[in-house]
């Protein structure tokens, strides 16, 4: 992944609009948060392979990281704190935000094909 180019990501978001797409959306602070710090809370959520079609989407800079919103016919998809992106070899738009130690805090990924259970088994 590399730091987000707003122009490049916006272009990709536009090209995936009004199509059936699969979404992976996730946020997490890890399963050990309250183990290592009893003041902390374990929170997280993910949805993998939500099949949606969005009317339009936008990436907005917050100075440092970005928010992304996708408008659905009857709802929204939203992520805050993404800072890195990649358009991978399967032409999927992968976005994520990491903490100082490189740990994933939030991810939003959009693909025209379903996300698989794992990466290619023979990779």
């Amino acid at each position: 992944m590399k730091p987000i180019s707003q122009t490049e990501v916006q272009k990709k978001i536009d090209s995936l609009a009004k199509k059936d797409v699969y979404v992976h959306l996730e946020t997490t602070n890890g399963a050990y948060a309250s183990h290592f710090n009893e003041e902390a809370y374990n929170v997280g959520a993910f949805i993998r392979n939500a099949l949606v079609k969005y009317q339009h989407g936008k990436i907005v800079s917050t100075g440092g990281s970005y928010r992304v919103g996708l408008k659905l016919d009857i709802g929204w998809i939203y992520a805050e704190g993404v800072s890195d992106f990649e358009i991978d070899d399967k032409n999927r738009l992968l976005m994520a935000g990491h903490d100082r130690e490189g740990r994933l805090m939030v991810a939003l990924e959009i693909s025209e094909t379903p996300f698989s259970h794992e990466a290619d088994p023979d990779e």
Partner: protein
């Protein structure tokens, strides 16, 4: 040819290295075969390397390769159970237990090492540990392996007392460190965490297990 066979059952690539690799090394030194039944590929892990080199979609490939390297360091076999990271507790425990029972019997396990259900912090640890205990319960007592359980939670000793089996694995520390470091995407995050909390690092040099009592 040894008649013993140690079967380690944990959900994530690296659980074996952090939790039991000193004990594993000790058994390997004696010539006892060790098989790691790895529940998932750790594909939902938070550590992506530091600096980041993996992403959510490639992480499983990296972790598989890392486990292969750790397995080489420890000279053990690995089999994957094919579940998905973070979802084990939502699978029917009976199904997972039957799956494990078959594997344990096929391997003629004499010892199963797993997590202590309810005291293992990560929900996958608790769920797979519970399924492993269930699996061994179903095996006829004359061929039933021992079950040693690894507890992690901060409260475990207050609630369970001191574990019966306490191994100083300092003689195998080099093996353990090599195995941990093979998990490149995960080790850095964990090692820096451990360096900030020296008591956690010291804890890695002792491996402690509770023996499950079937009676």
């Amino acid at each position: 040819m040894s008649e013993e066979h140690v079967v380690v059952i944990f959900p994530h690539p690296d659980d074996e290295s952090f939790g039991a690799s000193g004990t594993i090394a000790k058994y390997r030194e004696k010539g006892v075969p060790v098989t790691y039944l790895c529940g998932t590929l750790g594909e939902m892990g938070r550590n992506m390397g530091n600096p980041v080199f993996a992403n959510r979609e490639t992480l499983s490939s990296y972790r598989k390769k890392e486990l292969e390297e750790a397995a080489k360091q420890l000279d053990i076999n690995v089999e994957y159970l094919g579940y998905r990271d973070k979802t084990l507790e939502f699978e029917p425990i009976e199904q997972v237990a039957s799956h494990l029972k078959e594997k344990i019997e096929d391997l003629n396990a004499t010892l199963v090492i797993t997590h202590y259900p309810g005291y293992a912090v990560h929900p996958d640890h608790d769920a797979l540990g519970a399924a492993a205990v269930e699996a061994v319960k179903k095996i006829d007592s004359y061929k039933r392996p021992e079950v040693w359980m690894h507890a992690i939670s901060n409260n475990h000793e207050a609630e369970l007392g001191e574990p019966e089996l306490i191994y100083d694995i300092t003689p195998y520390w080099e093996h353990k460190l090599a195995a941990i470091k093979a998990h490149l995407s995960q080790a850095d995050g964990m090692m820096s965490l451990l360096n900030n909390q020296p008591e956690q690092l010291e804890r890695l040099k002792t491996e402690r297990f509770y023996r499950y009592s079937f009676t």
